[in-house]
Symmetry: C2
């Protein structure tokens, strides 16, 4: 392994890691590198630092690989530098309850304000059992981190692992711990939905960290408000610090951006270029409103389609001239509410095509099968990008498309996405619940003069590239340095005022 640039070994913990395995004939396991901002950012960090990445085995093949590896630890291939990976073989029952029942069905719903409160949630005996499994799942990570030799810093990723910082601090005093939340954070009035002891345990778990990072100032401030109102912690809102039971946690904003060089390189590959040509042919020169999302309740795809319909009603001049390309990729298809959401999307799309389509023009192209290369192709061709989540930690689609757009796309962006903090001055901001306002913003985007659209898109691309994953991750590490000993790597910029 290469020598660390500064300090000792760095531990990273996240539910999903950089490696996944598939079993071939005769039980042979083959490894595959994962994608996503965290993985690419961390792999570039790992080239210069001694990193051990602790993550969960997500499949039977992952579990088999974990069991075969000495001490459960694996190496990435030579190109990734000094990173090691430890896959945790967590019992499936524990993993399922922690990941699906608690993290994705409760904590996610609370942080995104998704509950239909008259009916859900109902916290009874079943939830208490799931919560015990969530503790076990967190404890498995804490145990692995606590026993990894030689490390002086740990960077724990996301709400799945919110109990880890406190558990780790108790087991390994002296290690510096950062936690980072990739979701929004709920205001105290909504966070109080959680059972009292559970809400306290989440907050106390995170306050075991020396630094708690968020994607937006809004989420950081909401977390501070929860610490104050629910825990009664001493909160300095100006300095963004929480003192609780004698321990100080600093709270910071680290707005994850895009590695522009990597993204542009990927989009130059033949598979993307072929799909761009095919999409251009299929849409016959119509102007393109593009959206790309997982089919997630928070992504607000239904209201996006309804806004496109309202555009065609109130601004009929766009009929025959604009096509809405909507990629809504499957997500959590094991949950009935998500399957129903996909069906609602497909039904509304059919209604719109039936109502407005002509032999020469299909108003809406909805695709529900995941194809990353085709997503990038759509970014290349987009005239307008629609990103209208009802609530979103950041939303990287809003940052990727302007970097790739060939002729400068306008971005219609929800005020409730974390990305609005940085992109708000150049995007067209909309209230995601307001279909009329969204339709008007789509119209404004379509009539925007070319020069203005291109200028805005360039500005959006620059902002989006300012905090690539590598720099974003270094910012979290730097936040762990004791005061007066700054990390030589530049720290993360604060959010633009």
């Amino acid at each position: 392994m290469s020598a660390p640039a500064t300090g000792g070994r760095v531990l990273v913990a996240s539910n999903r890691g950089p490696l996944s395995f598939t079993a071939g004939p005769g039980g042979r396991l083959s490894a595959r590198r994962g994608g996503g901002g965290l993985v690419s950012g961390l792999l570039s960090v790992a080239a210069e630092r001694d990193v051990l990445w602790v993550c969960a085995a997500l499949s039977d093949a992952d579990r088999a690989a974990a069991r075969r590896a000495p001490d459960g630890q694996l190496s990435l291939d030579g190109t990734t530098g000094g990173a090691g990976v430890r896959l945790l073989d967590i019992p499936p029952g524990t993993f399922g309850a922690a990941y699906n029942k608690v993290a994705n069905s409760v904590l996610w719903f609370v942080q995104h304000l998704l509950y239909s409160t008259p009916h859900e949630p109902q916290f009874g005996a079943a939830f208490q059992r799931d919560w015990d499994e969530f503790r076990r799942y967190n404890a498995a990570f804490a145990a692995a981190l606590a026993t990894a030799p030689g490390a002086d810093r740990a960077v724990v990723q996301d709400y799945h692992l919110s109990l880890v910082p406190r558990m780790l601090a108790e087991r390994r005093p002296g290690i510096r711990i950062a936690h980072f939340t990739h979701t929004p954070w709920a205001p105290p009035e909504y966070f109080r939905i959680l059972p009292d002891a559970v809400g306290r345990e989440v907050l106390e778990g995170m306050l075991g960290a020396d630094h708690a990072g968020f994607l937006s100032l809004r989420w950081a401030d909401a977390f501070l408000a929860c610490c104050q109102e629910i825990l009664g912690a001493a909160v300095d809102h100006t300095a963004r610090q929480v003192r609780y039971r004698g321990h100080l946690t600093t709270v910071g904003v680290h707005p994850l951006g895009v590695d522009a060089a990597e993204l542009t390189g990927r989009a130059a590959q033949p598979d993307v270029q072929e799909r761009a040509a095919a999409l251009a042919g299929a849409t016959r020169g119509a102007r393109l409103i593009v959206r790309v999302d997982r089919t997630e309740l928070s992504k607000n795809i239904i209201r996006g389609l309804a806004a496109f319909r309202e555009l065609l009603v109130t601004r009929p001049q766009w009929r025959g001239k604009v096509t809405h390309v909507a990629f809504a990729y499957p997500s959590r298809t094991d949950v009935p509410e998500y399957r129903a959401y996909t069906e609602d999307i497909q039904r509304l799309a059919a209604v719109i095509n039936e109502e407005f389509g002509t032999p020469d023009w299909q108003p809406l192209m909805l695709e529900v099968f995941d194809d990353f290369a085709r997503s990038l192709a759509a970014y290349l061709l987009a005239d307008v990008l629609l990103v209208n989540p009802i609530r979103d930690g950041m939303n990287l689609v809003a940052k990727e498309a302007p970097i790739l757009s060939r002729h400068g796309c306008a971005v219609v962006l929800s005020t409730e996405a974390g990305a609005a903090d940085e992109l708000g001055s150049e995007a067209l901001l909309v209230n995601p619940y307001d279909i009329s306002a969204t339709a008007e913003a789509l119209h404004a985007a379509l009539v925007m003069p070319d020069a203005e659209r291109i200028r805005r898109c360039q500005a959006l691309a620059e902002i989006s590239a300012a905090m690539p994953p590598r720099r974003w991750f270094d910012g979290q590490l730097a936040a762990l340095d004791p005061p007066g000993e700054p990390d030589p790597v530049p720290a993360a910029d604060p959010v633009p005022a």
Copy 2:
């Protein structure tokens, strides 16, 4: 009319007034006095002051009465003193859109956090038309108030009339205006669901008042936060004052209570006593857990039944010994979601009776037909009162039952009811989403020693009687006095610390 005790004529505005009419044979109209805290409080005030009460005609008979009265103004009968009533003949289309579509289906849902956000609301062209009607409805009240002769103060009641203060201040400079909100108030992160211009218009409308009153410190603070974050108004959180466009609005907490003498007198009537005897006979000496609610999505009746079921599962010693008397009276039966909620309640009640009932014991007595005398009878007999709303401006049931309870009831009370501010020290507080915690609180209430239960109930009764409607209303009037000229009537106490 009797002479005013202090100052000039007082105008009161509310959607529902103190009088309603029914048409008899030959079109003869007969008047009936309404009930409720506001009516009784105001009628006692009206005995000493010159009050004109402006409200909406709610039925065809009301409209006919309004049209027959000179200037649309009616008198109450002699026993109520100097109050006059003006029934506004608002076009049914305007009233229906304002009251049902905007106030009860949007503003109510926002303030109570009731939306299933992935699906509702969707603000499109239809909502914009409804909003225009809401403006017209508010303007009708403002016009009636602005042209009433001789008044120097106006007290405007509730969220239906949130636009009135600003409209009135513009039409009649110099009149002092109070507005009072009977609902909770949403935190800014949820209030932002409203279309941007609509949210601003609501806040600006209320800031036309000189004083804005709320039932709980939490709701007052949430309103202040909305003024600051959404309007950018200058807010002094300590003094609870908002300065906006050169106008100062003070914000106050006026926790409405119960007129204990009136309530006790009513409960002594034969109809209540007969029902108490019948209820005692039907429940055969079982201990009684009582709830009384409108069947309103915010009242959390389903989780209440589920908590009772969990009590019978986890504490089987109560089987055969406790009966849950649940009165869930029809509300908004024109709205499908409310009808479905009633059906869900009936279904769950049947399941519980089927699961646990014996020939000698019916675990659950659910009644869905409104009977006020029977409600009071249940308060007389209650061992435990269950009040578990997911969110509630105040909740007067929690204050009425302890006043009437014959042998001292314990109160299991949601932390999310405004009443928890005052009653929290003597009630058993529960998170309304937590069925296990609610079941445990019911158990704790049932095993509470008699002496403690009686002492707590007496304390709850005293707190509940401390701010009867008359005094509550005088507090709003006193808040309109210029500084240094206190009203001779005692001002409302602040919330107990």
